[in-house]
């Protein structure tokens, strides 16, 4: 594995923060659609501890993490907020922006200085609805990450590390 990894042991992953970090999903798009989407893209900085998406709110943006780490949290009765997943650069936040009823299913809080590349929800939905080429190129990778997240959540539900019930004996 690349020794670049070795230097920053314990700290944030994959190579520091450059001014123009790659944005995998977007970079992977064919030229046409990529240009049309980049037009919508806006970069935002989030300070550690800031919650930029709230469970139940209308999702205003679909973001791709450029840098930093984000915690997805749920409100659980009697247990308060529970972190169910943390996201790293390249991950998507706010897929609910393009899935009815367009409301956030979790809250999102930055754990480190975080940079997001965000698409405004309405414009994104509009272009996906009107531009078949963009939709065909952009939706599969989104679906892929969402599916991967579902699978991972399933494994968490299995409580793998718990093992069997302890006997009464």
């Amino acid at each position: 594995m690349p020794s670049a990894q070795r230097a920053n042991a314990g700290a944030a992953p994959a190579g520091g923060s450059l001014p123009h970090e790659p944005i995998p999903i977007v970079d992977a798009l064919p030229p046409g659609p990529r240009e049309r989407l980049l037009g919508l893209l806006a970069h935002r900085e989030i300070a550690p501890g800031d919650t930029f998406m709230h469970e139940g709110d209308v999702t205003k943006v679909l973001s791709i993490i450029v840098r930093g780490r984000v915690a997805l949290r749920l409100r659980v009765p009697e247990r308060g907020a529970v972190t169910i997943l943390t996201l790293d650069p390249g991950d998507i936040v706010g897929w609910s922006a393009i899935v009815p009823p367009y409301r956030a299913t979790t809250s999102a809080t930055a754990l480190e200085p975080t940079e997001l590349a965000s698409f405004p929800a309405e414009e994104l939905r509009a272009i996906l609805g009107s531009d078949a080429e963009v939709a065909a190129a952009f939706l599969p990778p989104i679906l892929e990450t969402v599916a991967a997240r579902v699978a991972a959540t399933r494994d968490q539900l299995l409580d793998l590390f718990r093992g069997a019930e302890v006997d009464p004996w």
């Binding site: 594995m1 070795r6 042991a9 314990g10 943390t86 968490q156 004996w169």
Partner: protein
């Protein structure tokens, strides 16, 4: 015969023993207080039992067998109506006499000074035994047991003691049942090895020849036996040849091992599972099946207990059971395990077939399942071409004569708890002091069997080696482990080990090291981390990825934090769920690799955790290019002996306890998907 004695037949002139003088043979065998057993009629079948006189033998009777059916019948009137051995196989072989269904195995007690002693029981010189009426298949089965039980690496002391002085009078079959197929397995009907005396029964008596000096000595004590005439000798040989002809030599497909290993997912397994009632009769009637389980007995006073070893069977759910469940929940899995072990993986384990063609599993199956039919059905429509990989017979020591010498892997040694460290709510680390050089010389990934009175004896991975002992990190998953986690400083227990093949740390020398641990799975990996850091410069990148249920369930927290602080080790920890106070990662372990870019081709991975987590990890690491032969994981299976004698932990061709518990992904192939949790 002594186990080590040569199998070749000595050549001495055959004699003729008139039928009415058989008692003289029994008397000769019984000289010196030797116990004499032979076929008798009991409970509607022919079974081996003590012989008072020839009158106890099944003279005039035969046992008609067909699939699912065995009936005592009178011999037809005629010249042969009085014959004694005019049947094929007894209802039960001679296994019971060398390998009883229940034997004392262990005694565990807490002495007044609080010291726990675990002693391995073995019979004190059992009475020498003579067996009359064994058949070629019985002798072949005995040879298989010799290979399995005293052929090493571990030796069953009970079997060795019972086996040591055995005198065998064999009979060459004069007929064949529809269930017989020894000729196809190359084990009969001719008696070529293993007997001291060999009989061929004729209408008026027996052609008897000595095959060993011991046999010859017996013959000489029977007064003035006339030599058998050429005609008598020929007549005897002729009927045996007829029996061979009646059976044919192609009852089952050629090379069943390769056939079965290539058809482990054949639809036929589902078909037979509909009929199979998993009663285990086949395994218990089989003269080579050797699987056993321990039964622990104690009174209300738990200071002392004992354990008996009883016949067990792979047809029970408990046989492959661990805390998490059974690896063979369906009859389909169990029948496949049995048939595959008999005809295929036995070769890999012991360099011989596990089936000797006696057909008892066919006759004594209540629903009449016929192994020959099952094998031929699979051969008729093989799902896949047999593997090209030729059989590599494992290099195992030859039959050993005695038990003396080599250290006994079954022996327990005492150890004392010198420190107790609670790790989590349900997990505790015990530091044990032991003087046993074998244990101190253990390697990362090896485990020990832990004995305390009244409880089952669990296998526990060594979580650290100390100059004067070891550490065990134990999760309270069952009664025994719960008890162990509650031990206090000063408690003593019995240790047996170190057992198994550990992590091949050397495989990672000069390569990147990836260590992935889930939950309690970190414990067996801890010695690997210790070893790698001890010689850090011999390895390239070192990355440690750990998963736990919650932040509170993390093991060795201080140690891991200290590691994370080093600049020559990458440490990533994730949990399944956490409160907002946790700023670390949340998600499954594999999520930690997403940030890794580039190739894993130069990496060696050591993985331990729940099997589902290990296979998910292996998939992701595989995508990153880590070679399968460099991905090592350790398996948990039902283990009672830890040395390949009890049979419970089999996975494919392996004994997880003996050949593992650490395996490379390449070694495991699909087995984990076939028989994983």
């Amino acid at each position: 015969m002594v186990i080590a004695s040569p199998g070749e037949l000595a050549t001495t002139a055959p004699r003729f023993l008139p039928r009415d003088r058989f008692d003289e043979l029994i008397a000769a065998l019984g000289e010196g207080g030797r116990r004499v057993v032979g076929p008798t009629i009991a409970d509607g079948a022919i079974v081996f039992a003590d012989l008072g006189s020839a009158a106890d033998l099944p003279g005039g009777w035969t046992l008609q067998t067909s699939p699912g059916r065995a009936r005592l019948e009178r011999l037809p009137e005629g010249p042969g109506e009085a014959r004694t051995f005019q049947y094929t196989v007894s209802g039960e072989g001679i296994k019971r006499f060398t390998f009883p269904s229940r034997v004392d195995a262990l005694s565990m007690e807490t002495a007044d000074d609080g010291t726990v002693r675990v002693r391995v029981e073995a019979p004190a010189d059992p009475a020498p035994l003579a067996i009359v009426g064994a058949r070629a298949c019985d002798l072949a089965a005995l040879a298989v047991h010799d290979r399995v039980l005293v052929g090493g690496p571990a030796v069953d002391p009970d079997y060795a003691a019972r086996r040591r002085d055995l005198l065998i009078v064999a009979v060459e079959c004069a007929l064949a049942s529809s269930t017989c197929f020894c000729a196809s397995m190359g084990t009969g009907p001719e008696v070529t090895t293993g007997a001291d005396l060999v009989l061929n029964e004729l209408d008026d008596g027996f052609v008897i020849r000595a095959a060993t000096p011991a046999g010859e000595r017996v013959l000489t004590t029977v007064d003035d036996l006339r030599p058998a005439t050429g005609d008598q000798a020929e007549a005897g040989a002729a009927q045996t040849a007829a029996a061979r002809a009646a059976m044919g030599t192609a009852a089952i497909p050629a090379n069943p091992r390769d056939l079965l290993l290539a058809n482990l997912d054949h639809p036929r397994w589902d078909v037979v599972a509909e009929r199979c009632i998993a009663c285990a009769n086949c395994t218990l009637a089989c003269p080579t099946c050797f699987c056993t389980g321990l039964e622990v007995h104690s009174g209300f006073d738990a200071a002392a207990s004992s354990a008996t070893r009883a016949w067990d069977s792979c047809f029970t759910e408990g046989f492959a059971q661990i805390a998490g469940g059974s690896f063979r929940p369906r009859h389909r899995d169990r029948y496949r395990q049995w048939l595959t072990h008999k005809f295929a993986t036995w070769w890999d384990q012991f360099g011989t077939s596990g089936c000797i063609g006696c057909g008892r599993c066919i006759a004594w199956c209540p629903v009449g399942i016929d192994v020959r039919e099952e094998l031929n059905e699979i051969a008729a429509a093989p799902a896949a071409a047999p593997p090209t990989t030729a059989l590599v017979a494992p290099a195992l020591p030859q039959i050993v004569a005695g038990l003396d010498g080599a250290p006994d892997p079954l022996a327990f040694s005492p150890a004392t708890v010198v420190a107790v460290t609670p790790e989590t709510a349900d997990t505790t680390t015990l530091r044990l002091e032991t003087a046993d050089p074998r244990i101190l010389a253990g390697t990362p990934g090896q485990f020990v069997m832990v004995g305390v009175p009244a409880f089952a004896i669990p296998p526990i991975s060594i979580s650290r080696f100390q100059p004067d002992g070891i550490e065990l990190t134990i999760r309270a998953a069952g009664a025994a482990t719960s008890f162990l986690t509650r031990l206090r400083k000063g408690a003593t227990l019995g240790l047996r080990g170190p057992l198994g093949r550990g992590w091949p740390v050397e495989d990672a020398r000069g390569r990147d090291v990836v260590i992935v641990g889930g939950g309690i799975g970190l414990a067996p990996l801890r010695p690997v981390i210790d070893a790698v850091l001890r010689e850090r410069d011999r390895y390239e990148d070192v990355r440690i990825y750990l998963g736990a249920r919650t932040p509170r369930d993390r093991l060795f927290v201080e140690e891991i934090d200290a590691l994370a602080a080093r600049d020559d080790v990458l440490v990533r920890v994730t949990v399944d769920r956490a409160g907002p106070e946790w700023l670390g990662r949340v998600g499954i372990v594999t999520q930690l690799f997403k940030t890794v870019r580039g190739t894993g081709a130069d990496a060696t991975a050591f993985i331990c955790g729940p099997e589902r987590m290990m296979s998910a990890t292996a998939d992701v690491l595989g995508d990153l290019g880590v070679p399968r032969e460099h991905m090592w994981l350790t398996l948990e299976r039902h283990m009672e002996c830890g040395v390949g004698l009890c049979g419970h932990c089999q996975l494919g061709t392996r004994f997880v306890c003996r050949d593992g518990p650490v395996f490379s992904l390449a070694e495991l192939g699909d087995d984990l998907r076939r028989e994983g949790l």
